[in-house]
Each structure stands twice: as C-alpha cells, then as structure tokens.
Assembly symmetry: C2
Homo-oligomer: 461 residues x 2
Amino acid sequence: MNRIEQHHLIPTTKYEIILDSVRRFLRRGAINPISKIVNKMHPADIARLISEVEKKDRFIIFELIQDVKIKASTIIEIEEKAMMEMLNEMPFDEVVAILHEIPSDKAADIIGKMPEDKAKELLNMMKTEDSKEVKGLLKYEEETAGGIMIPQFFALSENTTVQQAIKALQKAKEVEMVFYIYVTDDKGRLVGVISLRQLLLVPPRKLLKDIMVKEVISVATDMDQEEVARKVARYNILAIPVVDKENKLVGIITVDDIIDVIKDEATEDIYKMAGLNIDEHALDPTFSSIRRRLPWLYINLLTAILAASVVGLFTNTIQTVAILAAYMPIVAGMGGNAATQTLTVIIRGIALGELTLSNTMKALLKESVVGLTNGIATGVAMALIAYLWNGNYMLGIAVGLAMIINMFVAGLTGTLIPVILRAFKIDPAVASSVLVTTFTDVTGFFSFLGIATLLIRHIAV
Amino acid sequence: MNRIEQHHLIPTTKYEIILDSVRRFLRRGAINPISKIVNKMHPADIARLISEVEKKDRFIIFELIQDVKIKASTIIEIEEKAMMEMLNEMPFDEVVAILHEIPSDKAADIIGKMPEDKAKELLNMMKTEDSKEVKGLLKYEEETAGGIMIPQFFALSENTTVQQAIKALQKAKEVEMVFYIYVTDDKGRLVGVISLRQLLLVPPRKLLKDIMVKEVISVATDMDQEEVARKVARYNILAIPVVDKENKLVGIITVDDIIDVIKDEATEDIYKMAGLNIDEHALDPTFSSIRRRLPWLYINLLTAILAASVVGLFTNTIQTVAILAAYMPIVAGMGGNAATQTLTVIIRGIALGELTLSNTMKALLKESVVGLTNGIATGVAMALIAYLWNGNYMLGIAVGLAMIINMFVAGLTGTLIPVILRAFKIDPAVASSVLVTTFTDVTGFFSFLGIATLLIRHIAV
C-alpha cells in the first residue's frame, strides 16, 4: 500500500489538480469554468469531487451537471450519508427523475432509507412500472441476494432460436449489462445459461436449449450477500442469477455490486474488531464519531476495571516489591498481542469460509501449541532481561512463567471465543476482542502476581 | 457474517456432504466412486476439496480428474502454498501441460515462484509462443498492473468495420473472456473501446473509429494492483486495459482478478495491524505460524519493556500507595483502545483513498477532539468509580486526569503516526499499531504515576 499512496501527498495527479482548481473557482464564485470541468468528468469522479468540497458547495456542483443520466450516476456514487442528505434536500420531482434513471436495486435502497411518508409519496410519483419493481425489491432484507439484485435481466425461453435471441438482444435497451443470456422453461424456471459470445459462435437456427449450459450457478433470494460474494469470487463469474423458492428467475447480481460487498465486508471485519461502527469514515463529523465510539470505550472500561480488581488482591505483594508493578503490564500486554494474532487469523478464517466444524479442533490444537511455544520463546527472553535488570533470578522466573501461561491462554481463548460466539450466532468480529483481552489481562495479572506472592520470600531482598 | 456461517457448523450443505463421502471413500480406498464425484464437480470445488483432505490424499483426487483443462483450472484455484507444493512434486511434462492451459499471468506467477533452474527448464519445455508470453510477464513486478494482467486481449484497428469485427470475434478462440473490444491505431496505441453489445446495435458497415468511445480508462504497467482495483471498482468496469509508456496496449486485467486483489488487500490490512504474515491461514502448519509470529512478539516485548521502565521511575510512589498499580493498566489500556479506533479509521481511510494531503489536518483536528471528549467522558466516570472504590477523591482526580491526557494523545498519535509513516513511504498498517501503543503506554504510565507523585501527600492516607 505504501507505494501507491504517494500521489495523495502532493497534488500532482490530474484529479488533485481538478480538485484544487474547482476549490479556487468556488472561492471566487466563478461558476462557468466549474461547469465546463464538471460536464467533462466521469460520474464517479464528480461524486468524489462532491464529497471533498465543503457541504455548502455540494449542490452548486451537482446542479451544474446538465444530463440527468449523469446526475443520477453521480449521486449513487456518493458515500451513503452524504447522498441521503442531498436527496433529502432536493425537490421531490428531481428525486423522482433521478430514481427513474438508476438501477432499481439502488432506488429501493434509497427509498428504504427515507422517512416512511416521503417514501410513499415518492413511490406514488414514480412511473407504475418502476415503482412496482422498487416495491418488489423492498420486500427483501438489505444484505441478502434479494436486496442487492437488479430485477431487470435478459432471459429467453428455451425454445428460442439463436437468431431470435440476437434480435431480442438488439431490441433490449432497458437491460444495462448483458453478459449472459439466461434460459427459462415455460414456467419461468431457470434451466440454462449461454454467454453472449457463445451466441456468436453457433448456427443461427439452433435452439437455445440445445446449446445452453445446463448447470447454472445461482443463489436464493435470502442468501446473505457475503455468501453470494464468495460464490461469485469462487466461480469467477460476472453475474449470478437469483431464484425464488420455485427456482423461478427473479433477478441478477452483477460483479460490480459484488466488489462493493467484498470491500464493505472487509472494512466491516477490521472495524468491528476495533469497536467501530461500519459507516464511520475518516472525515465524518466529530460529534457523530464521539457518540459512536463511546459505548465501546465504556465496555472496555468495565472490563479493564474487572482486570484491575485482580491487581487489587495483591496490594500487599506490590507494597513489598514495588517493581512488580512494572512487570505486570508486560505479562498482560504480551498475552494481548498473542491473542490478537490468533483472533485475527481465526476471524478471517471464519469470514473466508476456511474454518469449518470439522477442522476447528485442529485449529484449537495448533493455536494452543503456537501460544505455548511463543510464550516460552518470549518468556525465557523476558526472564533473562528481568534477571539482568534487577539482578533477581526468582523475579525472572515469576515473569517468564506467567508469560508462558498467559500466552498459552491467549492461543486457547483466541480460538475458542470466536468459535463459541459463532455457534451462538453472535458475530465473532464484534465481541471477541474485548472478551479475549479481558481473559489475557486477568490471567496475566493473576498468574504473575500469584506466582510472585508464592515466591515473595525469594523475590523481596 | 453470523447468519451465513451457520451452515459450516453442520454438514448439511451439498458441499459438506460431498466432503464427508469423499473422506469415507478415501478411508476405504474406494477410488471409483471418488472419480465419479470429482469429474462432475466445478474446478473451484475440486480445489476446495483438495485443500481439505489430508496431504497424502491430494494427489489421489487430483489425478482422478480426466480432462487436463479441468486439471489446470483446479490447480490454480488451490491456495498458493499447497498449489506450489503439488506442482513441485509433479513430473515436468504434467506441469508443462498444465502451464499451457492456464492464463499466462498465472503461469508467470507459478514459474516466478519456482527454483531458478527448474523455471528455466520449464520455459524451455513450453511451446515458444506460450513461453514468450510468460517471459514477457516475468519482467513486471508481481503486485503491479503488469504482474496481474493477461497479455491476450482482443484489439482491432480503428479502420475495421463492424462486420469484420464480428467475424474476427467468432474466430478468436484463444481469448477467454471478451467484454470489450479495444481499438488501436496503426502504431498499436490504444485509442478507443467498444462493448460487445454495442457491436450488435450498429450498422455492419460502420468503422470502429466512428462508433468507439474515445475516453478509455486504462492503467500503466507499473501501477500498484491496489490502485488498479480502486479504479476498476470506482468506474464499475469489467476489464481494464494496460498500456506501456507509449500508450501501446500490452494486456488487460479482468474483474475476477480484481476481486482477488480486493480480498487479499483487505486481509493484508487486518493482518498487518496484528503483526501477521499475509500468507498465514487458520490451518497452516503450526511451526510456520510460530516462526512467522515470533518477530512481531519480540518487537512488542521490547516496546513493552520500554513502557515498563517508565513505571520503574515511580517505584517509591507505588511502594507508598500500592493500589496505584491497579489503576495504572486501566489508564494505559483505555489509551490503547481509543488509539486503535483512531488508527483503524485512519489506515482504512488511507487504503480507500479518502485521506489526502488536503484533508489530513482536518482529520487530525477531529481525532484530537474525539480523543479529548471521549477521554473526559470515560475519565470522569473512572474518577467517580475510583472515589467510590477507594474513598479517595484525589486518587480519582489523578486517574481521571491521566485518562483524559492519554486519550487525547491517542487521538493525536493515532492520526499522526500513520500519516507520517506514509510520507516516509513506510506501510502505515505494519508499523503504526506498535508505535502508537508504545506512545499510549508510556503516556498512560507517566501521566498517571506522575500526577499521583505530585499529589502523593493527598493520596496516601
């Protein structure tokens, strides 16, 4: 990542130069040159520009876009929160015009996020055809195949000829991205698939049912979007058909939406482990970040107090040998580091589908051995350092032994806790890290101060 | 993630049933039924099966695949380490047969990972045409556009007619996935692009140069793969052309390879923050995990000792009031938690391209305010708890004040350190967390024990 980021530091890229100029023109109130710039840009770039200028300037730029299609493509590329803010400030007829131009899965997302009465009114104002599609999509949960699919797809009956298929394809203007032609039987059930290119390679008289691939990879409407993404990635396909319970084709999911899912889910895992809300971005308003992060910090404060109360049991020991207070956080901290390594591997293994019931025991055994071995490796080093530092080999033994115990516990709980949480259908990425760290803190303090108390006559000199 | 994982817990899915049966047949040495199962499976599923059976059984399954094309598609879907192990055990002519069947970017990856003499011999044994392509690709660095592109693409001269283009398309068998037809001038420079479907919609006599889109989104051979992925995701395209310094078309990158990049880079960020090696998987051999994680643990041990030495400065204070030792890790730990939240947001912001030079100051200001405010919110709570717990309000003031200071420092260093590292072209995901934690540990211990020392007459009762 290091190499590619450089260009963000100095505004030498084309985009940064544009951003700079637009900002300068905005300050001067020079609208004409901005209009010229904006109307030459790709919607994705205009969206980026809009997210990076000041809030009050967003609409100035947006309203300069002349083509309503570009307007629509731009707004859906803007980050969700800003997009909804803008849509909520727009006049109703402009929102409706935009909703007509965007894919219906996106329209359903937007309407699903609006206040109920506003959503109703917008649906009433939309063309019947479009609003029907959107209403159909609103039935499905947001993070499922049904929630991310587009209900427009290109499907033909199995008795169509290749020639007819090509004609139909030339006529179909509504469907934006055709990669595959799905083939259905007389009841609308998905029975086959043909790629666009294959169609060019076979005699025009052939029937689709004779040339189609019959083993179609499809997903059910209620499949979680993360599993859909996994399937698309595994089979290297560009679009996956979505079927209902009777195997009737109801929509397709294209690879560009899959990319968004994969990006979001990866961020989700990193974020959850740090106790962050999925929607938080580096440049969000300060107050919303404060409010969102605080609950996690309070939970951590409680667990920290729990761990600290263990230390409270040993005040006599600490009073006798105050230097123990310096070693204590080392033991707890190293346990925490080892636990984070184990946790990350296990949580990622679960997310990537590598960890199954059958191999969990194997992972548990492995992580315990890793924890124990790395505990010995670092514990012995620490014991030596403690001996050299304080000239007290019993102190060295206490700290080394406690580290070995704690890092073994780290491997054990780092594997067990996410697996158990998953079995109880609790998302392991959210709750694991705070639980595991509490374990390693408590174990670290208890084992180290406990051993030190037992050896106190040899340690206190 | 919770919902979709369920099915991994009980073997009720089709795949788990297959895995179970295959294992049973393997134990009985019943090869025929396995062969029947395997030859009906999708290569991606066979690859998964091979990674989940015992090492000794891998080849039994692999050699049952009858079609060499399926064999080739299977082997490249296997996780890298296992794939290389298998390829290194295979006879040379089988490896060559496989190399001929896979995309040349994958072939180049594989050959690049083999011992040099073996790589040379394999290149000699390959068909000249194929080995030329592979040699061409070996020039590029692995994680750049050049390293992940396929040198086969479908390009036509700008003076071709639509009719000629369709004919050419029907003949082109080598090119696996055609979504776009790239248009070049007489010097091979990329000048336009047309989608396959557009081709069906225009009169057959038209020249490509009259119907092509002239603004082609392309990348240079040396662009980092993460930036390529960002570009493909931003513009929602299915394949991106790769050009050399003279704008000559040299290859394309398809969206399925982009998905792999996005998946890998996301894992990379999570892993780096925990000090893990990118290639580590939940079920890797124990010894390799031990060896890979140990360096990070040693680095953390050193920084923990550094922080502990701060505690060593205050042994007199601790000897006087031993309960301080219990509060100390709370102050340090809460700083660590707040820092991790800031760090994660900043590192992700850098990775997603949201943080640029122009808005870094804004992020810094924001994170400082968030740190300070959350420090006050949790610090005041902790001060009250300390007062209630030990009945000593001066102790409460010391711990509360130290927490406020430390969480402010957490927000500050959590933003500054990754940004500074990036400016020095050091990957912020790798080094930030250990540096930031050291800061919050040192600040936590120093501020708390320092304040306690100043107030010692009021705290010691």
